[in-house]
Amino acid sequence: MESVIEIAHLKKSFGSNEVLKDINLKIEKGENLVVFGKSGSGKSVLIKCLVGLIDPNGGEITVLGKNLNEVKGKALNELRKKIGFLFQSGALYDSMTVRENLEFPLRDLSKPKEETDALVLEALQNVGLEEAIDKMPSELSGGMRKRIGLARTLILKPEIILYDEPTTGLDPITSKEISELILAVQKKYNTASIIITHDVECARLTANRMMILKNGTAAAEGTFTELSQSNDNEIRAYFQ
């Protein structure tokens, strides 16, 4: 199998706060990796390192064959277009309509208008929110914002998607819909994903493999069944 992300000996601290100590991780094409970890354990920091939003203090990150320590400027932007990032907060552009939000990532590609319109429509159909196209983000509910955020992430047809808590703060039914959406995207576009979540149900549905982040390292790795039936009480506690 071909791996799309390779992380070796990744370290990151903020001042004296050592957040990531020694992370080693490989993700294969088409694979969903779910990451569990307590609040503040550095999950968001980990995926922000993968897109160069946070500069690590040490270690190597290779994404789609490119070493992140070496790509800069234009090449980094090219690489970033192949990675989708769903922010914990959705991060919709407040001053733009849903349509403009979705068109924004496409702006550098200078596609003809019909093609842009078709892509916007496809992305909205994927998340089942075609009717929201002319709304402003402030008019959307929390769950709708998450789904529009997801649509904006999908519009560039990324090879890798990083989901930061896609279901947090949503009711169980909407959560399930989002989890199924993640699964559908994986099937449809054969993307590799890292999914950060606290939601056991979401993990059960989407995970091919799981990792538990604790004290800056991977405390455990395995499938959902392996970890949820672990002999270690501390590991099992994440699944209650």
Binding site: K48, V51, L53, L76, N77, E78, L79, R80, K81, I83, F85, F87, Q88, S89, A91, L92, Y93, D94, S95, F104, P105, R107, D108, R152, L156
Partner: protein, 251 residues
């Protein structure tokens, strides 16, 4: 003491870097022309009513306040010319720039800070869209070009206010007022005064963008950014004005 010096120099360093990045990104394509126009509309056109009202009051009040002193010297006929010179050289540009700092500087600071706090700037960054170009370059360019226009408008309205002021207690016909003003105003009054407003506009937007772009996380960061944008850009207006006076005197 040492640590606050260190913070000062660090801040000066990032601000310099920020400024240089503006000039670099201003000239390399792609050009965000559409967003520039939108910002010029929001920054320039939307500030127009406020600037017009303050300009009018400025001219009117200055005229009314100057009259008694000039009357003591028996120089009442100098009123239009004297007020015109003060407005065009100094009061028009500086007051307009300060109002601009209060409205536009704080607006930019708060807007970018809230985009930063809500990870919208990060989202542009990770999508490979250059947020600096889209958000910062357009706003600074728009403010730099709009403030001089606003100042010219404010000056004109202030002079009209002054004409009304002259007629409250005296009697000057508009042609006479106009002639007296034109006679006294030279190119050397107008030109440097307009040139410095480009720098005022640049400084206000630069500081607003800088404070917003590097806002600390949390809602508190938004308030702080808006507040310090106004404080520092007003200060910058005075400092630039002082330097401009020195330079014009040398010439």
């Amino acid at each position: 003491m040492i640590s606050s010096l260190k913070i000062f120099f660090e801040e000066a360093g990032t601000l310099t870097h920020f400024t240089l990045r503006f000039f670099k990104e201003l000239f390399i394509p792609r050009y965000e022309f559409k967003e520039f126009i939108k910002q010029a509309y929001l920054i320039g056109y939307k500030s127009f009513p406020l600037i017009a009202v303050t300009g009018f009051i400025m001219g009117l009040v200055l005229t009314i306040q100057s009259r008694p002193t000039l009357m003591d010297f028996g120089a009442e006929s100098w009123l239009p010319a004297m007020v015109a010179v003060s407005i065009v050289r100094e009061i028009g540009p500086v007051i307009t720039a300060l109002i601009f700092a209060g409205k536009v500087g704080s607006g930019i600071g708060a807007e970018l800070a809230s985009m930063k706090v809500n990870e919208q700037i990060d989202a542009m960054e990770v999508a490979g869209n250059n947020p600096f170009k889209f958000l910062v370059v357009t706003r600074i360019a728009a403010a730099t070009l709009m403030l001089p226009i606003l100042v010219i408008v404010a000056d004109a309205i202030a002079l009209y206010g002054s004409y009304i002021g002259c007629n409250l207690q005296g009697d000057v016909s508009f042609p006479l007022f106009f002639l007296q003003v034109i006679e006294k105003l030279s190119f050397a009054d107008i030109f440097p005064a307009i040139i410095k407003t480009f720098f005022f506009g640049f400084a206000v937007a630069l500081i607003g963008c800088y404070k917003g772009y590097y806002a600390k996380n949390g809602t508190q960061g938004v308030g702080e950014a808006a507040n310090s944008a106004v404080v520092y850009s007003s200060l910058a207006v005075f400092i630039i004005d002082m330097m401009a006076v020195q330079i014009t005197n040398l010439l």
